[in-house]
């Protein structure tokens, strides 16, 4: 039997064997099972390897404060997140054995690119799965409301980003009224995913009584790290299945997280989400303004056209009236002329007729007078012939008895006769009376 070794001798042997047989360092891939920061700034870890859910390897590890500082900042700046549990890492390690503390490995470096690739790979797997399940575009099928007035907001009330968001909404330059309701959730760390999912479920439950137009997921800003939760499959699924269109403002500058990809619309920051919501209002208002303008323009055009039509009609009426009036006046004038000429003719005719009558009358009267004159002359001549002197001058006499012509008186012998000659009156007595002649 070999001489027994003391424990310290054994441990020294183990240490010596390890030291002589192992290289000073190895690149090892492992998952961080546990990570604790010590007060002195060192990091104490447990590295594990799993096959499915089965743990197949495990070892303690540490990073000394000085090294840890460098690794951590380089890791964060490359991957955008802090080293944390569950992360797959590629580490440069040195195997150590301490007689008291036992076997552990000291991490000298961690290659962030490996983790990045690893995360991208995992992210791609989740995306592939979501695509297979038809969840990638499910929420995008919702048409964004024209005017998103009622917002369900998932965020942390204490976060600066949330404050910015609300500030932006409530003090918008156009005075738009936006109703919002906050559903509190933890927005970073391990609990974030389930907390956000719970908030989504609360909103879905509230939709029975409340009307929301939009679901907004905004992260508080601050650290750019710790974004893993937004690549979570369960959260992506919850977002995809929401019955409201989801707008994200997670503040992830580097690249899109899965929550962004499944959401209806992704904005970079909470402020951008607020701007986006307000732009919906503005667009709508502008459209209204444009419609109003078009109505105004069209109405103006119609009014102008009607005005022109009326003016045309007015003009036409005026012309028509003028021409009618002209025609009427002409007709009147011609009638006047006609009347004048007719009256004139009639008067002339009457005058002629009067003249004729006058002439006729004169002539007639003259004839009559002439006739009378002739008669008178005839009478005068006859009278001349009847004058007794005519006979007396020729020797005839006129004899009367007692003033009675002798041929008319009864005569007897002895009667005294008065005989007239032209110049003498002779008185005599009848001697005898004899019949003579017839």
């Amino acid at each position: 039997m070999q001489n027994p070794l003391s424990l310290s001798e054994l441990n020294q042997l183990i240490r010596h064997t390890l030291d002589s047989n192992l290289s000073p360092s190895y690149w090892v891939t492992a998952e961080i099972g546990e990570l604790r920061d010590s007060a002195k700034g060192h990091a104490y870890l447990e590295l594990v390897e799993k096959s499915g859910d089965q743990l197949i390897a495990k070892i303690k590890a540490n990073i000394w404060a000085y090294t840890y500082q460098g690794i951590r900042s380089r890791f964060a700046s490359t991957t955008g997140q802090n080293i944390c549990n569950g992360m797959k890492v590629l580490a440069l390690v040195n195997v150590q054995f301490h007689e008291i503390y036992g076997l552990s490995i000291n991490i000298k470096d961690i290659d962030p690119n490996y983790t990045l690739g690893e995360r991208a790979k995992r992210k791609q797997e989740i995306i592939d799965q979501l695509s297979r399940e038809g969840l990638m575009h499910l929420n995008k099928q919702y048409v964004l409301p024209q005017v998103p007035q009622r917002l369900a907001v998932i965020s942390s009330s204490t976060a600066a980003g949330f404050g910015d968001f609300i500030n932006q909404l409530e003090h918008n330059a156009h005075g738009y009224q936006i109703h919002w309701e906050l559903y509190q959730a933890t927005m970073q760390g391990n609990d974030a995913s389930s907390s956000i999912i719970n908030a989504i479920l609360s909103i879905e439950a509230d939709l029975q009584q409340k009307d929301f137009d939009l679901l907004v997921v905004i992260r508080g800003g601050g650290a750019k790290t710790d974004m893993d939760c937004f690549d979570d499959y369960d959260l992506a699924r919850a977002i995809a299945n929401t019955s409201l269109p989801v707008v994200t403002g997670i503040g992830h500058e580097r690249d899109e997280c899965i929550a962004d990809l499944v959401a209806n619309t992704k904005m970079k920051t909470p402020t951008a989400v607020a701007e986006f919501v307000l732009s919906g209002f503005r667009d709508f208002e502008e459209k209204l303004q444009e419609k109003l303008k078009r109505i105004e323009r069209t109405a103006g055009y119609f009014l102008q056209r009607e005005d022109r039509l009326i003016r045309d009609k007015e003009h036409m009426l005026k012309n028509l009236f003028l021409s009618k009036a002209g025609a009427a006046k002409e007709k009147l004038n011609s009638k006047t002329q006609q009347i004048l000429s007719l009256a004139h003719n009639k008067i002339k005719m009457q005058a002629i007729s009067l003249g004729n009558i006058e002439t006729y009358l004169k002539k007639n009267v003259q004839i009559r007078l002439d006739q009378e004159k002739n008669n008178l002359q005839g009478l005068e001549k006859d009278l001349g012939r009847l004058n007794p002197n005519y006979f007396l001058e020729r020797g005839y006499t006129r004899t009367e008895i007692n003033g009675i012509p002798v041929n008319q008186a009864k005569i007897k012998s002895g009667d005294e006769l008065t005989t007239f000659t032209l110049t003498k009156r002779i008185k005599s007595k009848i001697a005898t009376i004899e019949k003579y002649g017839k």
Partner: protein, 66 residues
């Protein structure tokens, strides 16, 4: 006649024609003749005056309108 002026043109004309007819009938005495001729010539004078006045009235009426 005293009422010559009050006779209308038509009545006056009618009267003139009647006188002409009476004269044509030749059965009027010379004394009557003189009276009739006086009446007729008076009526003719009046009618002529009336015609002239009518013409003036018409011209005046249309003259004012125009």
């Amino acid at each position: 006649m005293a009422n010559n002026n009050t006779l209308s043109y038509d009545k006056a004309l009618h009267r003139i024609e009647e006188i002409v007819r009476q004269l044509e009938e030749d059965n009027k005495s010379i004394d009557e003749l003189s009276a009739l001729v006086k009446e007729a010539s008076g009526l003719i004078k009046d009618c002529k005056l009336k015609l002239r006045m009518t013409e003036e009235d018409i011209l005046k009426a249309f003259g004012e309108e125009g």
